[in-house]
């Protein structure tokens, strides 16, 4: 239930007009809109960055899928040998007629008597026979050891070859090789009618010639090349490629350790932060399992710290009246950051209704966010192991970092009232303690998947430990430690 006091409050809380008071007590300062504008810009920047990475990853995945799909047929022939699927029984064997023709031509060339009826068998009847010449010898010996016994013909087949023998014996025609696919058999009149069916495993196209089947003496003459078939030629696996390049992108978290006897360590708390890293690398495979890599990477070290500063200031009545804030210089005109000292200026605003004093001091909390960009050149030795399409590797080496830019942002707030506004920090110059270059040692691993004979995607975690200080001078050494993971697309030449 609302009482009279509530109604009085409601009636008098709002002046009933949007016009600000003449003295501006109900008008926010200009920094509010500046903060809103900065927040909106930052939000749009985050959205654009999110969309960029979304499209980038989608493009990367799409490219990988496209490469995998488009190059898979060729890659099948380069893949390691796999179990050959069993050929359907009804499918014709295109090489079988050629083997039979080869047998006939070889017999004719040697001048040997042709085997009697029923003695010539399809050389490729046994699917395990790989060499036609030895197959013919084996079949001949097999048949010679089993002289046909007319009395035993009615007792049923003795072997799997006998049905073919009986079938061949039923014909008195000379042996005519079965038609080759696409070729008409000898003494065949070509017509416009349907082409004769090619000989299958049990095709009845074989005809026998009268005569004796002599044993073949010595090695068979060189067989002519097989006619081209419908299958793609079987090519050997390629030799390990020598040169490869890759484009990589990833994230890296860097922190540091301070070493040395000095007590001049930066005050306050400090932590590392994630940064992006992009780069190009090139490798040379000097041995089947060893490669040397180098490249160029754009990386960074980012450190965030929070420090408390005792800020003393003196008011300036004239400036306060004109600009609604008082400009003051701190006694500590240098700010000690993670990478050295930076010239510091601060403006501390005041409430209009607060009396102006001559001297005041306030504890300020300064949050520094520093980032040093580097160009990095690695030199790595990589041990590679293959397993089908997968490849894993271990790498070790060193990296040289060349400083390529410095950014620092400082936010100031009252130490006990973080919400207080209008503390403007201005920094001039850059941190003076940075070393222009430093070295680190690297230890990493890699997992790679081959999308095609040349393209592959890779995922590589890596740890780095600083070998030299990121400080140019100072009583202690600042050594970096960083861990990160990168993803990339590699191409082999």
């Amino acid at each position: 239930m609302r009482n009279e006091l509530d109604q009085w409050l409601r009636q008098h809380a709002d002046p009933g007009t949007d016009q600000p008071a003449p003295d501006g007590w109900d008008t926010p300062s200009g920094t509010v809109w500046a903060g809103v504008r900065a927040g909106l810009d930052q939000r749009r920047k985050r959205r654009r960055r999110f969309l960029f990475w979304l499209f980038f990853l989608a493009g990367l995945a799409g490219t990988g899928l496209w490469l995998g799909d488009s190059l898979t047929p060729a890659a099948k022939h380069l893949a390691p040998p796999m179990a050959v699927p069993e050929r359907p029984a009804a499918a014709p064997n295109p090489k079988q007629p050629a083997v039979q023709a080869e047998q006939l031509s070889r017999l004719k060339a040697t001048g040997a008597a042709l085997p009697p009826a029923g003695r010539l068998l399809p050389a490729a009847a046994d699917s395990k026979i790989k060499n036609p010449s030895t197959a013919a010898t084996r079949v001949q010996n097999q048949i010679a050891s089993r002289q046909p016994d007319p009395a035993s013909q009615n007792t049923g087949p003795k072997s799997s070859l006998q049905p073919l023998q009986a079938e061949a014996a039923a014909s008195a025609d000379p042996i005519v090789p079965a038609p080759l696919p696409g070729l008409a058999p000898e003494n065949t009149v070509l017509t416009d009618g349907p082409r004769p069916a090619s000989a299958g495993l049990h095709a009845p196209a074989l005809q026998t010639l009268p005569g004796h089947w002599p044993p073949l003496a010595g090695p068979a003459p060189a067989s002519p090349p097989l006619p081209p078939s419908g299958n793609a030629p079987i090519r050997p696996l390629p030799q390990p490629n020598r040169l490869y390049v890759a484009a990589t992108a990833g994230l890296r978290f860097t922190t540091r350790s301070l070493q040395g006897p000095g007590n001049a360590k930066p005050k306050g708390r400090e932590s590392g932060a994630w940064v992006r890293e992009v780069g190009l690398c090139a490798g040379w495979q000097v041995q089947p399992h060893w490669a040397i890599e180098t490249g160029l990477q754009r990386t960074a070290i980012r450190l965030q710290a929070e420090r408390v500063l005792n800020f003393r200031y003196r008011t300036n009545t004239e400036q306060f009246d004109n600009q609604n804030f008082a400009y003051r210089n701190s006694d500590e005109e240098k700010l000690e950051t993670s990478f050295g000292q930076v010239d510091l200026r601060m403006d501390l605003s005041r409430e209009p209704n607060r009396p102006i004093d001559d001297q005041a001091a306030v504890a300020l909390s300064l949050r520094t966010d520093e980032q040093v960009n580097y160009w990095s050149i690695p030199l790595l030795l990589r041990r590679v192991q293959h397993s089908g399409r997968w490849q894993w590797s271990l790498s070790a080496g060193i990296g040289l970092h060349l400083e390529a830019g410095y950014q620092v942002q400082v936010q100031a707030a009252r130490a006990n009232r973080p919400g207080i506004r209008n503390i403007q920090v201005r920094l001039q110059g850059r941190a003076n303690g940075l070393s222009p270059l430093f070295w680190d040692a690297r230890l990493g691993a890699g997992l790679q998947y081959r999308l095609s004979p040349r393209a592959s995607i890779a995922l590589a975690p890596e740890f780095r430990y600083g070998l030299s200080s990121i400080y140019r001078r100072g009583p202690f050494r600042s050594l970096t430690r960083s861990g990160g993971i990168t993803a990339g697309l590699a191409w082999q030449f």
């Binding site: 409050l9 509010v32 607060r354 009396p355």
Partner: protein, 186 residues
């Protein structure tokens, strides 16, 4: 020059037009700042609330469906943002931090102009503890019920009632003191 309507500004801000966003801010910053001043302990806190509140307004522009006035919707967003701001800083149920400045004296209220009761109301509310101030604002000025206040602040209904009762008592005391001071000044 014809000023754009609220809907035109809203549509422009939804498209990301920076000029429309600034115009929308300029249109509502003064009344919304008065609201924030009543929830905050001082001007700095109010400006922080206003900044975060307008960021929320621009982020949730698509949430305004044209039901009611745009100013009323912006006000609701600002109030909820101010409550979130207070919650994040654990302002409820805690004592005010002592100022760490060495020589700066506490705020002194400026002289009141005739018919300047709204400034008096704001100053009185700013002198209340955060819990009292928030419940009194929500109940007396925003028109929320105790059930709604309990839901907004995450407290019991009984707590809301007791905070309101104590806030009224303290406000009466402050008001009587202030009237006496004003009578003495005259």
């Amino acid at each position: 020059m014809i000023e754009p309507t609220d809907i035109q500004l809203l549509q422009g801000a939804q498209r990301g037009d920076a000029r429309c966003e600034e115009a929308l801010y300029r249109r509502f910053n003064v009344p919304m700042f008065r609201v924030c001043l009543r929830y905050a302990a001082n001007r700095q806190e109010a400006e922080d609330m206003l900044q975060e509140g307008f960021l929320r307004v621009f982020a949730d522009l698509s949430g305004y469906r044209g039901e009611g006035s745009l100013e009323g919707w912006v006000r609701r967003v600002i109030v909820r943002s101010a409550l979130r701001w207070l919650r994040q800083r654990r302002a409820f149920g805690t004592f005010e931090d002592l100022d760490d400045t060495l020589t700066v004296e506490p705020d002194e209220p400026p002289a009141l102009f005739p018919n300047d009761d709204h400034r008096l109301v704001t100053q009185l509310l700013q002198q209340l503890p955060p819990g009292y101030r928030t419940v009194l604002n929500l109940f007396a000025l925003e028109g929320y019920s105790h059930e709604e206040i309990a839901g907004l602040l995450g407290i019991n209904i009984g707590t809301s009632r007791s905070q309101l009762s104590k806030a009224r008592a303290m406000l009466k005391q402050l008001l009587s003191q202030r009237k006496l001071e004003m009578r003495d000044e005259r």
